[in-house]
């Protein structure tokens, strides 16, 4: 019996297809300049984890490559097949919120649950997930499993996954954290090593995660927003340091005035070009008493910074508190603590429409150097300076002055030569950043992982062997590591 008939026997005829047009609709994502279009041979839409297991076992037996796909919005070509004859496992039908537990401040979700869907439920309990600055249509489970970046609510820190359940190609189930020991999936470090961490954030996947338990965070009624302008990146870092050191703000983002700020403010229609080049967006929240104290301190820091700007006929580089229309603050609040819809989607500026970025972790101390390198490399490869954008997001609890940096280019993907310029940019920039020093990449995707594994010594070998243990037939979307 052919593979299609076999899987149709598992998921039903209407949920598995080899139709070329249906397959073509999964062939490309926004990263197509780097990951070329490729059709899966089959698309299968299981309805529950038992169906996932049966499909995996069949694929393993027949050595059919498997590409799990939860919402498919990853913008790095991660769910685009690499091999001929792949089966794309579209998990979007599995979209149940299995539990929202207000006492434990946790939620357990299936792969098809999006941030929007989850917030709709959790807000009933005055709770929210930690949000990436990604469209709220993306999968919560995958975002956490890939270990995303949560700049909209930086105070939440970095790791939001407590435990999960993953089905391996041989049909076995792995449970991580306390999930492996009991019915209580609420603790990450159940037995021995941090398996929750070890199995996640690969350039691809080891198995199919079918449910994941994540932390939830409080939604506060008290909120206040500040916008402060700076002419240089370096000048903003002192204020960022103070705000981080005293753990004052829920969200702190430094963006340039021509990019993400427009989404944060929620409108394209404002003379942003008249603002200082960089704008620090700060959101303070908390319970009564603590909130007022935090807001007071933040105001003082910002006022200090503004004073140093005044004294600066002087060359002083302090900030300028910006007065914006009230709805700008409202959008910033909504999108930071309720899921991003506009704030991450601004690259349509002047009809350009496409977005390229190198996302990396590094210390705040190198902020100005990362930016300078971004401008320099872009210039060298012929990317216009007005296409060059920048983003800093410091992350609590700020050990190592941990920040997420985004070196962005907003471009018109249909322009001839655009892809080549970006590829040249990447080739130079990956090496330069590694030379300058970074903590790590946002995600290990195609193109970025190759020059990196060269530098990690024996760890690379161990990593590859580890993946082979879980997936000896190499059927999973191993992506680009092997």
């Amino acid at each position: 019996m052919n593979f299609l008939k076999l899987v149709q026997g598992v998921v039903g005829e209407e949920n598995a297809t080899s139709d070329r047009a249906i397959c073509a609709s999964y062939s490309r994502d926004q990263h197509w300049h780097f990951v070329p279009a490729k059709n899966p041979a089959f698309v299968v839409r299981p309805g529950d984890k038992e169906e996932v297991r049966e499909v995996l076992v069949l694929a393993n037996r027949e050595k059919v490559p498997v590409v799990p796909y939860s919402t498919g919005i990853n913008v790095r070509g991660l769910a685009i097949p690499v091999h001929e004859g792949s089966v794309l496992l579209d998990l979007s039908r599995m979209n149940r919120i299995l539990e929202v537990n207000p006492e434990m401040k946790t939620a357990t979700v299936e792969p098809g649950v999006t941030f929007g869907m989850l917030l709709e439920e959790t807000r009933k309990h005055k709770l929210r997930p930690a949000f990436p600055d990604a469209p709220l249509t993306v999968s919560v489970l995958v975002n956490y499993y890939l270990r995303g970046i949560y700049q909209t609510s930086a105070a939440d820190g970095h790791d939001h996954t407590l435990s999960y359940e993953m089905i391996l190609p041989n049909g076995e189930t792995l449970k991580t954290g306390s999930r492996s020991l009991s019915e209580m999936p609420y603790f990450r470090y159940g037995v021995g090593p941090d398996f929750t961490g070890v199995f996640s954030a690969h350039p691809g996947t080891c198995g199919v995660v079918t449910e994941l338990t994540a932390k939830l965070y409080r939604l506060y009624d008290n909120r206040k927003v500040y916008f402060v302008g700076f002419d240089e990146v370096g000048a903003a870092t002192k204020v960022i340091y103070n705000l981080m050191n005293d753990e004052l703000a829920a969200s702190i983002r430094l963006v340039d005035n021509q990019s993400w700020l427009k989404g944060i403010c929620g409108t394209f229609d404002f003379p942003y070009e008249e603002l200082p080049k960089f704008v620090l967006c700060v959101l303070v929240e908390g319970v009564d008493g603590i909130f007022e104290a935090k807001a007071k301190l933040v105001q003082e820091y910002l006022a200090d910074s503004a004073d140093s700007a005044d004294s600066a006929d002087s060359g002083g580089t302090g900030g300028r508190v910006l007065e914006f229309p009230a709805e700008f603050a409202r959008t910033f609040e909504e999108e930071s603590l309720g899921g991003a819809e506009k704030s991450c989607m601004v690259f349509g500026l002047q009809g350009r429409g496409n977005y390229h970025c190198i996302g990396l972790y590094g210390p705040l101390t190198l902020a100005a150097e990362y930016y300078a390198l971004h401008e320099k490399t872009a210039l060298e490869v012929g990317i216009p300076q007005d296409h060059v954008h920048f983003y800093i997001d410091p992350i609590y609890s700020f050990h190592g002055q941990l920040c997420y940096f985004e070196l962005d280019v907003f471009y018109d993907g249909s322009e001839p030569g655009a892809g080549e310029k970006l590829r040249n940019y990447n080739a130079k920039q990956f090496q330069r950043l590694l030379d300058l020093g970074i903590y790590g990449w946002f995600r290990p995707y195609a193109g970025i992982i190759e020059p990196t594994v060269e530098r990690i010594g024996h760890l690379a070998e161990v990593w590859k062997k580890f993946l082979r243990v879980l997936d000896p037939n190499e059927i999973m979307n191993r992506g680009k590591l092997l």
């Binding site: 062939s27 059709n39 579209d90 917030l119 819809e341 989607m345 349509g348 249909s414």
Partner: protein, 412 residues
């Protein structure tokens, strides 16, 4: 090809596959509300806007060389409602004009001979009978225009002529009650909308030429449409006819202009003397009227004259209204999907506290009514099984029906 290949590919390259076009604005209500009927019903990526764009690319680049069931379904089971386009431009500021791209895609399929037999049959019917339903009798056989040279011409359209004549009846009654002289065309042919929307562009040319000719010769200055699909086709696909083209609700709202409407507003519907109906109603924005033509306020203003404060807004409305499910050739080809879609709208109206769901389009009315009747039947069955359900069957109207019911004349 209407648009150049490079232009189309360029538009396709701008889609980042964020899929925000599949839901209505999340903020400030923070509710997850689907927006794309075809994606929501069928599930595969091919049925959402970003997936369809990839299929189009694959065809243009020569990767798809044969028709298939999945191709025809994903391309034609889209109501061309334009909700994806409105949402996309709002969040990205990129003008992808998705429904136009999808129409181009259909045109490309038809040129390759990849079309649905049911759509080809409609073209045959139109060729034979000049209407989309293949009907041979005439609407109100023997009914005459009140005045063959009247300045107002009512273009009835196939659906109001042959499937929901109560809308045409209501419109004529309104003219009569208001003492407005009107004419209807003895030789009104299908406007061509269904052919154009299904990619059968060539077949529509004869219809456009005929209707243009008879309207030019009619001496009319204003053409009134109760069908937004016809109106949109006249505006988009017809040559300039030198006449004013208006929707019934614009026409009625315009009667108040300069005469001081009930709230002193222009285009308010305030020129009508209407008895209030005392029924809570929700207004459904027809896609062609709202998203295509930008007409959102006039129908609401006219409805307010009839229902007063009892007009309820549904959660998805105006640019982000949920489609009724019948447009783009879907009703004829994928009736189950069309009815599901309308059923969702009926539920939404009920949740808004409405007793009646009111549209301004014969096509919407027909589909919503069928869905409401089906729902009522199902309800009866479950009630028999002892499971009480809240509320009664939803009533479905067109705005002009409610106006004609309550109309007492022109406001002095």
């Amino acid at each position: 090809m209407g648009q150049e290949r490079e232009e189309i590919l360029s538009a396709i390259q701008h889609c980042v596959k964020c899929k925000l076009c599949s839901i209505a604005n999340f903020h400030p209500a923070e509710e997850w509300q689907p927006l794309c009927p075809s994606g929501e019903f069928y599930g595969y990526q091919a049925f959402y806007a970003p997936g369809k764009l990839e299929i189009f690319r694959e065809i243009l680049e020569g990767g798809l060389t044969e028709s298939s069931e999945g191709l025809l379904k994903s391309v034609y089971a889209c109501t061309l409602c334009g909700a994806c386009y409105e949402k996309c431009r709002q969040v990205t500021s990129v003008e992808m004009r998705l429904p136009e791209l999808f129409e181009e895609l259909r045109g490309e399929l038809v040129r390759k001979g990849w079309s649905l037999s049911v759509h080809r049959e409609i073209a045959e019917k139109i060729k034979e009978t000049r209407n989309a339903y293949g009907e041979r009798q005439k609407y109100r056989d023997g009914a005459k225009s009140t005045n063959e040279n009247a300045e107002v011409l009512y273009f009835i359209g196939c659906t109001a002529r042959y499937r929901v004549p109560e809308i045409a009846d209501a419109m004529l009654e309104i003219f009569d009650k208001l003492g407005i002289k009107y004419q209807v065309l003895g030789e009104e042919w299908c406007c061509g909308s269904v052919l154009l929307r299904t990619g059968q562009v060539e077949a529509a040319k004869e219809l456009v030429a005929h209707n243009s000719e008879v309207i030019k010769n009619s001496g009319a200055k204003t053409v009134v449409f109760t069908c937004p699909g016809c109106l949109n086709t006249f505006k988009k696909n017809y040559p300039e006819l030198g006449v004013e083209l208006v929707h019934s609700t614009q026409f009625l709202a315009g009667l108040g202009e300069g005469e001081g409407g009930s709230d002193g507003d222009e285009s308010s519907g305030g020129g009508l003397e209407v008895k209030k109906l005392g029924m809570a109603v929700a207004y459904h924005d027809p896609c062609h009227l709202g998203r295509d033509l930008g007409i959102y306020e006039e129908p609401r203003a006219v409805l307010k004259e009839v229902a007063g404060e009892k007009v309820k807004e549904m959660k998805r409305e105006r640019e982000q209204a949920w489609c009724c499910g019948s447009g783009g050739g879907v009703k004829s080809a994928f009736d189950e999907f069309a009815l599901w879609c309308a059923g969702e709208r009926v539920k939404e109206a009920r949740a808004a506290g409405a007793e009646a769901l009111v549209s301004a389009c014969p096509f919407c009315k027909r589909n919503l009514k069928e869905a409401a009747e089906r729902e009522a039947e199902e309800r009866e069955e479950t009630e028999k099984e002892g499971e009480e359900k809240e509320g009664k069957g939803m009533k479905i109207y067109d705005v002009v029906e409610l106006v004609s019911k309550g109309l007492e004349g022109r406001r002095k």
